[in-house]
Amino acid sequence: MADPDGSLVLQVVGLRKHFGGVQAVNGVDLAVAEGELRAIIGPNGAGKTTLFNLISGDLAYDSGQIYFRGEEINGLPPPELCRRGLARTFQITSIFRRLSTLENVQTALLTHHRRHHNLFRPARRLYRDEAMVLLDRVGLVDQAPKPSGILPHGDQRRLELALALASEPQLLMLDEPTAGMAPRERHEIMALAAGIATDARLTIVFTEHDMDVVFAVARRITVLHQGAVLAEGTPLEVRGHPEVQRVYLGQRRGTAR
C-alpha cells in the first residue's frame, strides 16, 4: 500500500475507530502530498478530532493503516512520532502554564535535540537564541520572560504553534488553531502558519470551524461527514460539490460565503 513515488507525507487507508456503539471514524482514506496546506472540515461530531488523535498516536485505532513519509506508523507512541517529524497542536490550548514562555520553547528544543536527559548543565543558557528566533517568528519576543499561563489567549495559541515548530516537523497538524480567537486574529494566525509552512517547506493539515479562514488559506479541503470522507478537492471544487452543499455548507450559509 505504500505510496509509489514517495511524495506523500501522510497517507491514511481505511481507518476505523469506534467508541462503544459509535463509529467515530468509519473507513477514512486520506493522501496528503508534501508541501500541502490541507483543511479537514465537517460538522461537529464528524470525527475530525478523533482522526487527528489517531494519526498523532494519541489513540489506538481499530483497523486500517497510517503511513507517514512512506513508513507505517501503527502503534508508535507520540514521542516517537514527534522524533520522526510529526508535530501537533490541540483544540484546547496545551502549553506548560507555569513555565515562562521562553522556557516552554527551550524545553521543546532541548527535547528535540535529545538533550533532556542531561542532569547537570544549566538549561537556562541552552538553545536560548534558537528559542528567541522561534518566538520572534510567532511574534512573542516581548512575552518571553512571562509565565505562559498569564498570556492572553491568542498569544497562548501562538506559543503552542512555536512548541510544535520547535521539533522541526515535516508534518504539522493543527487542531482548530483559531478556536476562541477574534475573527481578525484568526486570519493573522492562519496566515502566520501558512507563511511558516511555505518557508520551511512543511506540510500542514488543519481542522477549522471558520469557513472564511478555511477558504482563504487551504489549498485542498477534505470534508468529513459521519466519520467518512464525503468530498475532497480544491476550495472551488468543494464549494461546488452538491453533497457538501446539502449536508454541510447549506446549513451554515452564514459563514460559508
Binding site: 498523532s56 490541540f90 496545551s94 502554564r97 538533550r115 533532556h116 542532569l119
Partner: protein, 307 residues
C-alpha cells in the same frame, strides 16, 4: 552578589557549630538530614507533580543498607554510607517501575503499599535487620564520633547533595520534568517519554532519600523499622509543604522550622506535638497552599511590583 550571598551562608555554617551548645549541634545535624530527605522528596512533588506516600521506604533502604553492611559485613563506615543511596535507588527503580504507571491518588497509594511491604519485611526479617529491636551501635569511626565532627561531615555531604539536586532541577532533565508536571500530554507531543522520565526522577529522588537515610543511621547510632513506617513517609511531605513545594529551598526552610519547633514544643509538651503538627498541616492546606516560603515570595513580588 549571588556568589557573595552564598559565601556568607557557607561561612556562617562553618563558624556556627562550635559556638552552639552541643544539643543544638545535634539539632543542626538532624535539620541537614531532614532537609536533604525533604528536598529529594520535593524533586518528585514540587518539580515532577508526583506525590509519594511511601518515601520512608527509600530512606529506610538507605539506612538499613548502611547499617547492615557496617554491622553484619564489617564494611568501613564511609563505604557503607556510599552504598546507602545505591541500595535505595535500586529499590526505587524496582518499585518505581510500577508506581509511575499510575497517576495522582493511585500513584500515592501504590507508593504507600510498597513502603508498607518494606516496613513489614524489615520488621519480620529478624536475622538480617534485627526486627523490632533494630540494629544497635551503628556508630561512625572515632574521628567522626563527636557531635561536632559528625555535624560538619553531614553539612558537607548534604551540601554537596543539595548542590547536585539544585543542578538537576535547573538542568534540561529538570525542565522536562517540570513540563511533565504542567502538562504530561503536551510533554509527550514534544518528544518526552513521560513514564521513563518520571521513573528516572523517582530513582534520583530515591537515591538522595537513601543518602539521607544512611546519614541518619550513623547519626542515630541505630536503625529501627519505624524508619520505613507511615509517619516517616509523611515527614518530608509535611516539611516540604510547610516550607513551600514550589521553590527549591522551600523544603530546607521547612526543615529548619519543623525541627526547631519539634525541638522546643516536642520537648516541652510531647503530647501536643502531633496536635500542633496536624493543625499546622490543616492550616497550611486550607489557608496557605504555597507554604510559608511561598507566602514570603508573594510578599516580595508584591512589594517589587508595587515600587
Amino acid at each position: 552578589m549571588r556568589v557573595a550571598r552564598w559565601l556568607v551562608a557557607i561561612a556562617i555554617l562553618l563558624i556556627l557549630p562550635p559556638l552552639l551548645p552541643s544539643f543544638l549541634v545535634v539539632v543542626m545535624t538532624e535539620i541537614a538530614i531532614v532537609a536533604l530527605f525533604a528536598t529529594a522528596f520535593n524533586l518528585l512533588m514540587g518539580f515532577g507533580g508526583m506525590v509519594s506516600f511511601g518515601h520512608a521506604a527509600y530512606f529506610a533502604l538507605g539506612a538499613y543498607a548502611a547499617a547492615i553492611l557496617v554491622k553484619q559485613a564489617a564494611w568501613p563506615m564511609l563505604l557503607g554510607l556510599a552504598a546507602a543511596p545505591f541500595a535505595a535507588a535500586a529499590g526505587a527503580l524496582f518499585f518505581g517501575f510500577f508506581i509511575v504507571r499510575l497517576t495522582h491518588t493511585y500513584f500515592a497509594m501504590l507508593s504507600l503499599a510498597f513502603a508498607q511491604i518494606v516496613f513489614t519485611v524489615v520488621f519480620k526479617w529478624k536475622a538480617l535487620t534485627g526486627g523490632d529491636d533494630g540494629l544497635l551501635n551503628v556508630w561512625p569511626p572515632a574521628w567522626l564520633k563527636s557531635p561536632l565532627a559528625y555535624c560538619y561531615f553531614t553539612l558537607v555531604v548534604v551540601g554537596l547533595a543539595m548542590l547536585a539536586l539544585h543542578a538537576i532541577v535547573d538542568s534540561p532533565f529538570g525542565y522536562a520534568l517540570r513540563a511533565i508536571r504542567e502538562n504530561p500530554r503536551r510533554a509527550r507531543f514534544i518528544g518526552v517519554n513521560v513514564r521513563r522520565h518520571q521513573l528516572q526522577a523517582f530513582v534520583l529522588s530515591g537515591f538522595f532519600s537513601g543518602l539521607a537515610g544512611g546519614l541518619f543511621a550513623f547519626f542515630n547510632g541505630s536503625v529501627f523499622p519505624d524508619f520505613a513506617y507511615l509517619n516517616k513517609s509523611f515527614e518530608p511531605l509535611v516539611v516540604a509543604l510547610l516550607g513551600g513545594v514550589q521553590s527549591f529551598f522551600g523544603p530546607l526552610a521547612g526543615a529548619v522550622g519543623f525541627k526547631i519547633l519539634e525541638t522546643y514544643i516536642a520537648r516541652q509538651w510531647p503530647i501536643y506535638w502531633p496536635l500542633f503538627l496536624g493543625a499546622a498541616v490543616v492550616f497550611v492546606v486550607v489557608a496557605l497552599p504555597q507554604g510559608f516560603v511561598g507566602l514570603l515570595q508573594r510578599r516580595a513580588w508584591r512589594t517589587r511590583t508595587a515600587r
